[in-house]
């Protein structure tokens, strides 16, 4: 299988879907001539032209609002927000419109919309540009939240998201764009709502997603050297959550830790751990531990920023603590 970057995988997904379905189009800031702030849409403008690759003004509410209208009218827009931090400007469109229209119109209209946005910290971009806001979207019924960690998943899930009839918040991590991985040739999709078990194990379950799935994977490898066999689950989709896979794993291992970059308070781990408590309480042999981003606006200083984001050694320590 060919090995490509996460960025190329997303680009392939967009191109293939635009070739397959004329109703698919891309809109966002600098997605056309410039090829996207993170170069995900590179080459699409040349291939599909300005009607299907639309450069938008710096107005996130407008980008998402226009995309919602197009989706209601029968198109399949893929809106790119330069980073998830700017999604806050579009929250009314996302939460009050995209997520609710299908419900409030009694199913008579649907919103087949994908909102793509990179996020995450670690690049010294300061408190306003380094956030992981997935739990904001996770909290809102009517949205599906997808956060792939590998090129293969990125391509398969983006293609699936474009084909879905409901609004999808598709969150990428800036650190992942240059990571490489094998991608199956040709057209394939990966179902939304299905976690991946990256590694089988019996001692504890390590649950993570997006960039933290890579950190968790490194920790799992080091734990093997200590004789600890962890089961590694990459959620891939945060909403709907693949509870069956989580519960089956915890029933086997009796222990779980969750690795997430977002803030610990009210974060993804809070939701995931509670679901496990609700459905597998009698299988737990230790409290679930969350390895999460520190509850602080992201510090600019490099050493402080690194201390605020979970590291491999934090995961290892948490794993040992629950064993």
């Amino acid at each position: 299988m060919p090995e490509i970057t996460y960025r190329e995988a997303l680009n392939d997904a967009l191109r293939e879907e635009m070739q397959r379905d004329a109703s698919v189009f891309v809109l966002g800031e600098d997605v056309g001539l410039y090829g996207g702030a993170f170069k995900v849409t590179e080459g699409l403008y040349a291939e599909f032209g300005e009607k299907r690759v639309i450069d938008m003004p710096i107005a996130e509410g407008l980008i998402v609002g226009a995309a919602i209208g197009a989706a209601m009218a029968g198109l399949r827009p893929v809106a790119e927000l330069m980073t998830v931090n700017f999604a806050l400007l579009a929250m009314d469109q996302i939460v009050n419109h995209a997520a609710k229209i299908r419900y409030m119109f009694g199913g008579k209209t649907k919103v087949p919309l994908v909102i793509r946005a990179p996020g995450g910290g670690g690049n010294q971009l300061g408190a306003q540009h380094s956030q992981s806001l997935e739990s904001y979207f996770l909290h809102c019924p009517g949205l599906k939240v997808v956060m792939p960690s590998t090129p293969e998943d990125a391509k398969g899930l983006l293609k699936e998201a474009i084909r879905e009839d409901d609004p999808i918040v598709f969150l990428e991590h800036e650190h992942l764009y240059n990571t490489r991985g094998e991608v199956p040739p040709g057209d394939y999709t990966i179902p939304i709502g299905k976690a991946a078990v990256r590694k089988k194990g019996t001692d504890l379950t390590i649950i993570s997603y997006s960039n933290m799935a890579l950190i968790a994977g490194e920790a799992a490898e080091q734990l093997v050297k200590e004789g600890i066999q962890s089961e590694l689950i990459d959620l891939r989709t945060l909403s709907p959550l693949d509870l069956a896979t989580l519960v089956a794993s915890v029933r086997k291992t009796n222990r779980a830790i969750i690795v997430e970059e977002d803030w610990k308070t009210g974060g993804v781990g809070a939701e995931v751990s509670t679901r496990i408590y609700e459905h597998a309480f009698s299988s737990l042999d230790a409290p679930i531990v969350r390895v999460a981003g520190k509850d602080t606006p992201m510090p600019y200083a490099k050493n402080l920023e690194q201390a605020a984001i979970p590291r491999v050694e934090d995961v290892i320590q948490a794993a040992i603590a629950v064993l």
């Binding site: 069956a244 519960v247 029933r251 086997k252 309480f281 299988s283 042999d285 230790a286 409290p287 603590a321």
Partner: protein, 425 residues
């Protein structure tokens, strides 16, 4: 066309039965298969279904009467017998009006709400006692009746973990309790006492067996370490109701092995030897009032899970004292397990007309010398009792050898694990 309902033969040793109860009255219509009456045999209380459909026209044997097997006890079909109305003297001063007397109002039993005493949930007891144990440790302990207060915790903050409970359990003298311990019988007062029907039947059967069958015995020691480990694996995700016991495993192994030893899976009544293809496994269950041997049908074609479920069902019926007429007949081989009571070694008496019975003693931690080293082994002593008229030592030894191989390998067919049920929310 009126048909007789007769006292059925509900067990191999049943000669007579006491009619305990009719579920229908004369004049009621009965469907074939509908429960008609209840009988106490020498072994159990059984409900019997009607073999025919029609009106129950006459009850010949009243509740409480004991009659030999084959006696007609009721008639279905034909006409109701003419009843001569009993002349009741009219109360003084009453006027004869010619109106039909209103029958006394039927005293209908109104179903009452049952008050179920609050049952402690798994782990609740432990909380009450202030023991600090993980949910997994608590449910594991509760399912197996382990007292958490005896265990020192090694988890976070001294919490008792699953491993702590498993380790503790591994060091208990007897790990498996296929059947709950039989409560000690009350000590009877001195003097002559009348044997119960059941006791009499047991006495007759064992005396007949020992008098007429030339028993001989072979014992084998089987290393159950692998089997017990497999069992822990199999039970990891099972709750109490689904737990597979070591007894189930032995039944599975014996049933599978017997397929190759038809002389041990045979009947030898006076008329001559009958070899059986199918293994109908008799399982000795001890009750306070005596022994009972329900039969797990076609055990050789059942999976380990099916066996476990079947045995549990038979055991429940035994405790309730209610077997279907089918449950006690047609056994071809029997297993008697006293391992849970710590019995070191015993030989069982053959249950005629069968030709063999397997006695299971306790599993013991035993050091075994292997390659110059002592290794700990979970050793099980089994003893096969055989009818020497039918079986010789060599084939019986081969049977035990194969049984040992099967158990020591413990490569049961893959048992489907219960799938996690997750509510869709």
């Amino acid at each position: 066309m009126p048909e007789d309902i007769i006292m059925p033969k509900l067990s191999d040793t049943m000669l007579e039965g006491t009619l305990l109860k009719w579920f229908k009255h004369e004049g009621d219509y009965i469907q074939q298969g509908e429960t008609l009456f209840e009988v106490e045999t020498d072994k159990a209380v059984l409900e019997v279904a009607s073999s025919v459909s029609g009106m129950l026209t006459q009850i010949l044997v009243q509740a409480g009467e004991k009659v030999p097997v084959g006696t007609a006890i009721a008639i279905v079909g034909g006409e109701l017998p003419k009843v001569v109305p009993q002349q009741e003297p009219l109360p003084e001063g009453a006027q004869k009006t010619g109106q039909a007397k209103k029958p006394p109002a039927q005293h209908k039993e109104t179903p009452q709400l049952k008050v179920v005493p609050h049952k402690k949930e798994a782990g609740e007891a432990a909380f009450a006692g202030g023991t600090h144990a993980s949910p997994a440790a608590q449910s594991y302990a509760a399912e197996r009746g382990i007292d958490l207060s005896q265990i020192a915790g090694t988890g976070i903050g001294g919490m008792i973990t699953l491993k702590d409970v498993r380790d503790y359990r591994a060091h208990l003298p007897s790990r498996e309790t296929p059947f709950p311990a039989i409560p000690a019988e009350p000590v009877p007062a001195e003097g002559t006492t009348v044997l119960s029907t059941m006791r009499k039947a047991i006495a007759a059967t064992v005396s007949h067996s020992k008098r007429t069958i030339p028993h001989f015995y072979l014992s084998y020691d089987i290393d159950m370490t692998t089997a017990l480990n497999r069992l822990v694996e199999l039970n990891r995700n099972r709750n109490d109701a689904d737990t597979i016991t070591i007894n189930d495993v032995i039944i599975k192994a014996a049933s599978a092995t017997l397929k190759n030893y038809p002389y041990l899976n045979a009947l030898y009544p006076e008329q001559g030897l009958v070899l059986k293809k199918e293994v109908n496994m008799g399982i000795v269950i001890g009750l306070p009032e005596g022994l009972i041997i329900p039969v797990l049908k076609s055990a050789d074609s059942l999976t380990l899970e099916d066996i476990s479920r079947g045995v549990k069902k038979l055991r429940e019926k035994a405790e309730a004292g209610k077997f279907s007429s089918d449950d006690l007949t047609d056994g071809t081989f029997t297993i008697s397990n006293l391992g849970m009571l710590g019995v070191a070694d015993f030989a069982a008496i053959i249950y005629p007309p069968q030709t063999a019975i397997l006695a299971i003693s306790a599993i013991k931690d035993t050091p075994v010398l292997k390659d110059g080293l002592f290794i700990p082994v979970k050793m099980l002593r089994v003893t096969l009792s055989m009818d020497h008229r039918v079986v010789d030592g060599i084939s019986a030894a081969n049977f035990l050898r194969d049984l040992t191989r099967y158990l020591e390998k413990s490569d049961f067919e893959t048992v489907a694990k219960p799938c996690c049920t997750v509510e869709d929310d």
